[in-house]
């Protein structure tokens, strides 16, 4: 199996090229881009992200952590008299706990999502970059096609790619 990398210098050229290639039955493995290309996901068949479900779980975790933590600190372990507020029952004190619960929920959700995203993309700090060409982190866009995924021979594919406006074609 060989991998074919077609490089473009414009995101809309790539998007339209991908549309015409998919219409001809070419399966596109992936696209590398310095920024998200609006509308590329359904064209190359990227599935809907499940990050939102993770976010919800992280949020629930954060909320529970905050509430359990404050119950232990402020009610169970050492009730504190702050401005004469009731401190023997959790429900009497709950308005004072809401802002912190909110903050911890947001903290856990945001960090959880960011870390999940980096892990899933294998782009945590220190990991070796997997993009085929460093120029895709600057101003170029690369489309990856696996030869095992397509029916046509490579020469036809390369000419098809050139017809869509690819400026450079590499094989690996």
């Amino acid at each position: 199996m060989s991998k074919i990398y077609a490089m473009y210098d414009d995101d809309s050229t790539l998007l339209h090229g991908a549309e015409s290639l998919v219409a001809k039955g070419v399966q596109i493995k992936d696209v590398f881009s310095p920024f998200p290309i609006h509308g590329i996901d359904p064209v190359i068949g990227v599935r809907k992200t499940r990050l939102a479900i993770c976010a919800f779980i992280y949020g629930l975790t954060g909320m529970s952590l905050a509430l359990i933590g404050m119950y232990y600190f402020m009610i169970a372990d050492w009730p504190m008299n702050i401005g004469g507020k009731p401190n023997y029952y959790f429900y009497q004190n709950i308005p004072a706990f809401i802002p912190i619960t909110f903050e911890v929920t947001v903290l856990c959700t945001a960090h959880g999502m960011a870390i999940t995203y980096l892990l899933r993309n294998k782009t945590l700090p220190g990991m070796i970059a997997k993009n085929p060409d460093p120029r895709t982190t600057d101003d170029k866009f690369v489309m990856q096609i696996n030869s095992s995924d397509i029916d046509m021979d490579e020469e036809t594919l390369i000419s098809e790619l050139k017809a869509t406006g690819a400026i450079e074609i590499n094989k690996a």
């Binding site: 509308g39 996901d41 359904p42 919800f56 401005g83 507020k85 308005p95 004072a96 802002p99």
Partner: protein, 411 residues
């Protein structure tokens, strides 16, 4: 394709209004405590307060819907938004009811000034009283400048007049743009919107103090203007969304197919959180500080109306959060209608709980008078809106962002 206000729809909207009027009259005749004279803490709360409060509550609620849509329309111009251009005529049709609603609210306040009712305590306070004299009220004396009719009414009329003027201006300019084309009118609207947003920024707060906060005359809260504003914005968006879904159900607004309704759903979802945030921020700070003059507002509500009060909070928070969190739910017509109706009713209750306990203490009720007047206003308001919607093309022409707005498609 344009909207046609059919005879059947006319009959339904007017029927709702007339049914509301009949229920209201029945309530006035038979609801026992409507004429009770309430004497509480030495202050006479008047004999027919409940009727006036019901009218004021609905006047304010529906005025807020129109005002919020006016604000939203100005925001769309000022922020140069394209997705909402396809709904512009829907927003403008809601604006057509603003002058009437503003007049009703002002009229009710003026009637109170001449002794017709006793909703606003400050209207009947003798400002010439000196400390130590019988009936002297330190807080009212302190606020005498704000409640001086020579200050209060010009300010009220200035803001109401500005809102009415801008609502008519946008409606006029929109038709003019259809005929003339070009970008000149658009940029004029853009500049006017920047001016309007400044006026609205002050006006929405001041109006909320004048119309609502002054009912609990002794009380003050710096966050109240924002609390009212977040509620009215949500009410306006919900009403506009319901109207859009109605039109789409008739096969109209075909241009708004690429996630435009989804965007409206997002607004309802997001503004529910804004409202909850404001509600809780105001409550928590006052609960924490526990200063006598600040907690009166919450005492009157939490002690006498605990079920309604907390139901408003939890329903308006939990229902949009749980039902509209998923992206697919915000595109689903049935979910949006269900959530929209619940939120609409519970935000009406929110306005009810702002106006009623302050003017009637524990004697307020939710009966025929309140339900009847709500239906009366709903029917008349919707009739005006639909008549205005049918009187002009449903889709704008020549708006510079129209093509961009139609082409929007969310993935």
């Amino acid at each position: 394709m344009d909207y046609v206000f059919s005879d059947k729809t006319k009959k339904i909207t007017l029927g709702v209004g007339i049914a509301g009027l009949l229920i209201f009259i029945l309530g006035v005749l038979f609801d026992s405590n409507a004429y009770d004279t309430l004497v509480n803490e030495g202050h006479n709360y008047g004999s027919s307060n409940r009727i006036w409060v019901a009218l004021l509550t609905n006047g304010i609620f529906f005025f807020f819907i129109a005002l919020a849509v006016l604000f939203f329309l100005a925001l769309q111009y000022a922020a140069e938004v394209s997705w909402s251009v396809v709904f512009k005529r829907v927003y403008e049709s809601i604006l057509s009811a603003l002058p009437l609603m503003a007049s009703i609210v002002v009229l009710i306040i003026v009637i109170g000034q001449f002794g017709g009712h006793h909703i606003y305590h400050w209207q009947h306070y003798d400002t010439s009283l000196q400390p130590g004299q019988e009936g002297y009220d330190h807080l009212l004396d302190h606020k005498a400048f704000f409640f001086n009719p020579a200050f209060y009414y010009p300010v009220l009329l200035f803001f109401m007049g500005a809102f009415v003027w801008f609502s008519r201006y946008y409606r006029k300019q929109s038709l003019l743009e259809d005929q003339e084309g070009g970008t000149k009118i658009h940029f004029k609207n853009f500049a006017k919107s920047a001016l309007f947003l400044v006026i609205f920024g002050y006006g929405s707060s001041v109006i909320s103090w004048q119309l609502i906060m002054s009912i609990d005359t002794h009380w003050f809260s710096t966050l109240f203007g924002w609390y009212v504003f977040s509620g009215m914005w949500l009410e306006g968006m919900v009403y506009a969304l319901m109207l859009i879904l109605y039109l789409k159900g008739k096969g109209l607004l075909q241009q708004a197919s690429g996630g435009h309704v989804h965007d409206m759903g997002k607004w309802v979802f997001a503004l529910s959180f804004l409202w909850t945030y404001m509600f809780f921020s105001q409550f928590m700070l006052i609960w924490y500080a526990d200063i006598p003059e600040e907690i009166t507002y919450f005492q009157a509500r939490i002690n006498d109306y605990p079920v309604i009060y907390w139901m408003i909070f939890f329903t308006n928070f939990a229902v949009p959060m749980l039902f509209l969190m998923d992206a697919d739910a915000k595109k689903n017509k049935n979910v949006l209608i269900l959530v929209g109706c619940i939120v609409f009713v519970f935000h009406w209750l929110d306005v009810f709980i702002m106006t009623s306990p302050g003017s009637m203490k524990a004697e307020a009720g939710l009966g025929l008078i309140e339900i009847g007047s709500f239906l009366l206003f709903l029917g008349v308001f919707t009739f005006i809106v639909l008549r205005s919607l049918a009187s002009r093309p449903l889709m704008v022409k020549n708006h510079p962002y129209l093509e961009e707005g139609k082409a929007i498609h969310h993935h």
